[in-house]
Amino acid sequence: MRLLAALAVLFASASARAQEPSPVDARLVVRTQAVEPGKPFDVGVLLRVQPGWHIYWLNPGDAGLPTSVRWTVPEGFTAGALHWPVPQRFDQPGGVLGYGYTGAVLLGTTVTPPPTLAGDGSVAVRAEVGWLACEKICVRGRKTLDGTLGHAADGATSDPGLFTEWDSRIPVDPGNGDAPASLTARGGVPADGQAGTITVDVDWKRTPAAVEWFPPDDPALDVQAAQSRTDGGRTQLTFRAKRLSGQRPKQAVLESVIAYTDGSGVRRGLRVPINLDGKET
């Protein structure tokens, strides 16, 4: 009996160590499984996050870690940058801001095949995914996902409806004909480390609700005191920024995002590029 009790304790403690929560599920998805020479196709990682937990955007905010996807595609193919859907904002105790996702997020990319396809036309794709999931505590996770498209499709679920749904959550370029708003920006950030103020006027075609601004991540730039005010058809966004410790920001143009709710209650995004040295974008 004593031996059984000892074994029970051994198993219990082993499973307790293995009990670190695993709140994120990741799987490979594709818009369609067909691959044609030279014709770009979309692949993505669908991350599903348990209730109460969140994972992070490209800019995680004051704390956290951006979700990462590293794509491996065959020779001659190129995978583009990740399409980051519009994030949510988390206001954590102590004034610690977070930007990220709850529920689910599709992180997709467009892959361009070469002008001719070799072999039997099957295309192997690998996604190495990493994340930090937080609730009361934080847990890091990673997963390697392999799939094949084209002739011998396998391992990647084809779901065009899913991609269409998430297409609408990718921030739209303000230069596009169907962009929901036009932008003008003024102000700039001095090179000497002093704080500068930047103001962006967003003129909407149709007045949206729940407008929120998301700054980009730049380790050399400290962005503070962002305020946005929406009055009728215009949102005025103002923020202060300074260069940290003589470091040069990695970009001259700030790639920020405005999230808004459209007339149908759908959450959408607008790219808001801002030139740091005050030039017109």
């Binding site: 954590q92 102590g94 977070g98 380790p219 940290l244």
Partner: protein, 195 residues
């Protein structure tokens, strides 16, 4: 004359109130505190004037902290500067932890610097500590000379080539030089203040 003095006194009071909500700012005096360590001993920042003080916000449940403690990042640095007038203080502002937890963490990890029991979040709030780890270096005059990340490797995996900003700041301060990088963006889990 009397009304002018009164006005001046009023302005001074307003100015003091304006700065009463202390946040650690590089180039400014470090916010004062007196708080108990894991063994219940008072640790008073003002009493350490004349030494170089490192404050390390920590949380044993945070994967970023666990990675650094697995690599002995903080302990190695604390040991290296121990005999050069540098006092290393870990601060645990995690609301659901206590001094007993801090004692256990210290024993488990085998380091000898104190862990200040800030589960009420008072010191964390006064410094504006946002992440674990979040590092501050205070010079002998009590001025904050570095605030931010421990290094430039948030995701990990570049341990051998990572740039350790706290090591650089301590090298500079102990050599009597200006700190070459005074401020960086900290990384880590959010400090788990109470709701």
């Amino acid at each position: 004359m009397r009304s002018m003095t009164w006005a001046a006194a009023a302005l001074l009071t307003l100015a003091t109130l304006g700065t009463a909500r202390a946040v650690a700012v590089v180039g400014q005096p470090a916010p004062e505190f007196t708080i108990k360590d894991q063994d219940g001993h008072d640790v008073d920042l003002e009493a350490l004037r004349g030494k170089i003080v490192v404050l390390e916000w920590t949380n044993p449940d945070c994967p970023f902290v666990r990675r650094h403690y697995g690599a002995k990042t903080m302990r190695t640095l604390a040991d290296r500067f121990k005999n050069r007038d540098v006092v290393w203080l870990a601060v645990n502002s995690t609301n659901y932890m206590d001094a007993a937890r801090d004692r256990a963490w210290r024993t488990e990890q085998g380091f000898s610097y104190p862990v200040l029991d800030d589960h009420a979040g008072v010191v964390g709030t006064s410094y504006g500590a946002k992440t674990t780890p979040h590092m501050f270096v205070i010079d002998r005059q009590g001025t904050v000379v570095y605030a931010g990340a421990i290094d430039d490797d948030a995701a990990g995996g570049h341990e051998t080539t990572a740039r350790n900003y706290v090591a650089e700041a301590l090298d500079d301060v102990t050599a009597g030089k200006a700190v070459r990088v005074g401020e960086t963006k900290p990384y880590g889990c959010s400090v788990k203040y109470a709701q």
